[in-house]
């Protein structure tokens, strides 16, 4: 994730003026919004309380990551409720949420904001609404496959899969840390696996019906 680079400092007046910025602002009318989106998400995040948000901003103030988000949690709630589906599902906010539940316990309306973020992540992953190399959906998917396969997660193997699928060069950057963990006996390639694999897969594969399968 790159931070925006500051504009270069212009030293002399002889240089040509910067090109005019084209700012595209467009009105969005109700017909372009997905008005059922709010209710759809609320249903998946335990309770219609999402719709009763009073926009107080306590969630944004509590969130340790809101300063790095493109939309603060308060705005995400408002936009979800009003049906700005594309903007919400394309936002960085839902991927930055680290599920620390700080907002959820402080919310005066008792909205399960962390569960809302999870519901939005699921929608975004199911609909492919994320940049190809965004590591978080890739990590989630790799984790999902590994656990379905073995019943347990082997951290070292999961990380190798993550780097191969996102940025193999990053693996070199992390190699020293990996070596130190290995040296202190805190990283092993040995696979963790459960015994009752057959019943396990029957259970996981049959779990459902998946609520998310309902078309928007």
């Amino acid at each position: 994730m790159k931070l925006p680079t500051p504009p270069a400092v212009r030293t002399t007046a002889t240089k040509s003026p910067p090109p005019m910025k084209t700012v595209v602002r467009r009105l969005k009318f109700e017909s372009e919004l997905d008005l059922s989106f709010g209710e759809h998400v609320a249903e998946r995040a335990y309770g219609q309380k999402l719709l009763s948000c009073i926009q107080c901003g306590t969630c944004s103030a509590t969130c340790p990551l809101s300063q790095y988000m493109d939309y603060t949690p308060r705005r995400i709630i408002a936009m979800t409720r009003e049906g700005f589906k594309d903007e919400v599902l394309n936002s960085l906010t839902i991927w930055l949420c680290a599920s620390c539940y700080a907002c959820t316990v402080q919310c005066p309306r008792e909205i399960h904001i962390t569960d809302v973020m999870y519901a939005l992540k699921r929608e975004a992953i199911a609909r492919g609404f994320y940049p190809a190399r965004n590591p978080i959906p890739v990590l989630a998917k790799a984790f999902f496959e590994r656990v379905r396969h073995d019943g347990r997660n082997t951290e070292s193997r999961l990380l190798i899969t993550l780097y191969l699928r996102t940025n193999p060069f990053k693996m070199l950057k992390e190699a020293l840390l990996g070596f130190h963990l290995f040296r202190t006996g805190r990283l092993t390639l040995k696979k963790e696996k459960i015994k009752g694999m057959k019943e396990f897969r029957t259970m996981i594969d049959s779990a459902g019906p998946q609520k998310e399968a309902v078309p928007l």
Binding site: P64, C100, H112, L139, N153, R186, I204, S206, A207
Partner: protein, 300 residues
């Protein structure tokens, strides 16, 4: 008093010293632990981002295994999960099975196809809760052979052990670990960031954001004079310890503070040899671990 023990995947890898110290401390206090037979991954925060029903089913299999082991008379009914993420996922699954009809129906049906008949009796507990509220500070204090005098501790709880359910402590200002280290003779420093998030897996995914969260925590603990940060979660420990060098390089800081598990700290106070507690596995050495204070000699 006996407990079922759910290690979780982290305690078999990066969190290995956590498992070693938990087992050593419970052995020393004579509290039997039985490992949950054939436990599976709890699903962490990633599984629920893909499919909620599968995530609940995954976690519920462990709850059902625990219930089965308890009803066969093999262990107590409390399932101890030391990793904060495992603890919360299991707790949350139990909570939604009890409160949401839809989740209960779907999960029960999936479990039945795997041959489980889950009644919902398993209780999920964290070792911090068990040590302080079941075993009790009095009993632990009595077992101390090496009071941790003169050590300033920053107790770091992280997020998921207290939030969102506040099962055994306050969501924003918990005190359980502070009381525990005080009983061991150390001084718990007062700091407002004890339950602020470390970013979890962000250090591996959106690292620029993850490093900033950890930097804030490390600076505050150092500024307030802590000699060590104690954690109760393998991911918090990993983030706070393993990225210190990178944070120093990236932001021009000079942070150097050991980060250990609270169970390692208890173990040292109870006179357990550092090797059995996995102290040698820490990146930043715990200087006071190897040099017992005067008090230890007086007891010997």
């Amino acid at each position: 008093m006996s407990y079922l023990y759910f290690p979780g995947c982290s305690l078999r890898s990066t969190g290995r010293p956590y498992e070693e110290s938990i087992l050593a401390v419970f052995r020393k206090l004579d509290i039997p632990l039985t490992e949950l037979d054939d436990w599976n991954c709890c699903g962490a925060t990633a599984y629920v981002s893909i499919d909620e029903n599968k995530a609940f089913t995954l976690a519920a299999r462990n709850l059902a295994l625990a219930e089965r082991m308890h009803s066969n008379g093999n262990a107590g009914e409390d399932l101890m999960a030391p990793c904060s993420a495992c603890y919360l996922v299991l707790e949350k699954t139990q909570h939604y099975i009890k409160t949401d009809e839809g989740v209960k129906r779907d999960v029960t049906a999936a479990l039945q196809r795997g041959g489980f008949d889950y009644k919902g009796t398993t209780k999920v507990r964290h070792p911090l809760d068990i040590l302080v509220n079941d075993i009790g500070l009095e009993r632990i204090a009595k077992a101390v052979v090496r009071p941790m005098k003169g050590i300033n501790v920053a107790c770091y709880y992280g997020c998921q052990v207290v939030r969102p359910f506040e099962t055994f402590d306050h969501a924003a200002y918990p005190t359980t670990m502070d009381r525990l280290v005080t009983a061991l003779g150390a001084r718990a420093i007062d700091w407002p960031m004890k339950a602020r998030c470390c970013g979890g897996s962000l250090t591996g995914t959106i690292q620029e954001a993850g490093l900033r969260l950890n930097r804030a925590l490390l600076l505050e603990a150092t500024k307030r004079g802590a000699n060590v940060i104690l954690t109760c979660c393998p991911l918090c420990q990993h983030n706070l310890e393993c990225y210190q060098k990178r944070i120093n390089r990236r932001f021009g800081e000079s942070i150097n503070i050991p980060v250990a598990y609270f169970t390692q700290f208890i173990g040292l106070a109870l006179g357990i040899p550092p090797k059995e507690l996995g102290i040698q596995r820490l990146f930043i050495p715990l200087k006071f671990a190897e040099t017992p204070g005067k008090e230890a000699h007086a007891h010997a």
